[in-house]
Symmetry: C2
């Protein structure tokens, strides 16, 4: 069923993957800091998520928020992730709760658990014959301050779910690349997310029923060390891609 | 062995419980925003943990940081916990790592997991005959934004341990009251922490060897729903008090 969806960070890579697959499937309100350079499949709000008033206005009449906005750089300095990712995400959750939004899908990241990739485990854990698997029930173990900020967003989501009844899904997004999986990069192949699987996964986040969830956002890669069982069970995620099958395939 | 310890938030209740028991056991550098009104068992630094330069200077020659400073109010508004608890704690960890400090004991809180106390579980979970037990391996489930900030501090600690080799213990402090356990308050009795057990627990945090730990800071209460097994095993914590035995006892 078509939903009224606010997409923050719409101009970023994840936003473009989502809109590439779902432009006609929902009623979109798109938000980003910079004005778009081409046609967009919905109303476009120019504004920063750290601007509370803009965020509150953007929530009006919205069923679902897909919250992607933030500093996306793994090496981002603390001050930036504190403001854009932690404080900005609180602003989004608070405004969503106040506006009576039903669901928030929050773009978390593999970097929230990046430090599980210890010297002892790598590179073996990136390979198909290795059994190591994270499933979303583990504690955050951030590999950088960006990852710390994403873990904080997950905790905020838990709080806004428990306190205000918001449905919240945190998607620990892997390595999103267009066309084909990363080449000569085992870690990237292990956590590859194809554009079409990304769009489908967020469509399920928009449509499925859930309370509070942490799921991994990757394709069904042979090399995976993130379980996608929870995304399958709770969201009905059915990925079509696998980095092992697309090494030289530009169609995904 | 006596250690050189920086105690942030020294003038607060937890700080006073620690100093009440351990004044002569370590070399203390005390830090708080307001000047002390009476004699102190060590050098006193007046300053705010959000002031990076003051924090960096206070770290010089320090073996262990006991980081208590922050807004302690469960009902504190977001802006305050963002600045004082999240940003302030990052400042402390960063400065500790840069200064070559060995260990940081971080005052987390029961509020980081307060929302496990659901309507279905309470008040039964506060009673001696109930088996429900959190052990520190569970995901944060904050009961308020203060709890969100404490969960963020735990993630920061995880990062500074993994990235810089700092030993970090996060103590989810229960209900610290002087003299006797809370009266007519089952939850408070379940998570009571006596002053002398508090001092002993932080002494163990100062002296024991560990990597990264999350432990509960409560006395050995019959009513407890927080396990103290990890604190016993890793830190050598040996609590002497139990709220069931001190209902009318002013000696603790």
């Amino acid at each position: 069923m078509a939903q009224s969806v606010l997409l923050t960070g719409a101009a970023g890579r994840v936003g473009q993957a989502i809109l590439g697959g779902l432009a006609d499937d929902h009623e979109w309100r798109l938000m980003d800091r910079d004005p778009p350079t081409d046609d967009q499949p919905g109303e476009f709000v120019i504004g920063d998520i750290t601007d509370e008033e803009t965020v509150r206005e953007a929530m009006e009449g919205i069923d679902v928020v897909v919250h992607l906005a933030g500093d996306p750089r793994p090496e981002a300095p603390w001050d930036s992730v504190l403001t854009n990712n932690i404080d900005g995400t609180q602003t989004v959750f608070e405004a969503a709760a106040d506006a009576g939004v039903e669901k928030v899908a929050f773009a978390s990241s593999n970097h929230a658990v990046g430090a599980y990739e210890t010297d002892e485990r790598t590179p073996e854990m990136y390979r198909s014959d290795d059994d190591y698997l994270l499933d979303g029930s583990e504690l955050a173990r951030p590999g950088n301050l960006y990852g710390v900020s994403k873990a904080a967003g997950e905790s905020l989501g838990r709080y806004y779910h428990d306190e205000y009844g918001l449905s919240v899904v945190c998607v620990r997004i892997g390595n999103l690349t267009k066309g084909h999986p990363p080449i000569d990069y085992e870690r990237g192949q292990a956590m590859w997310l194809s554009y079409r699987d990304c769009a489908h996964l967020f469509d399920r986040c928009i449509q499925a029923d859930y309370g509070y969830e942490i799921v991994y956002g990757i394709s069904d890669n042979d090399r995976k060390y993130y379980s996608i069982d929870r995304a399958r069970e709770v969201l009905g995620y059915e990925p079509r891609d696998n980095s092992a099958e697309h090494a030289d395939d530009d169609s995904v």
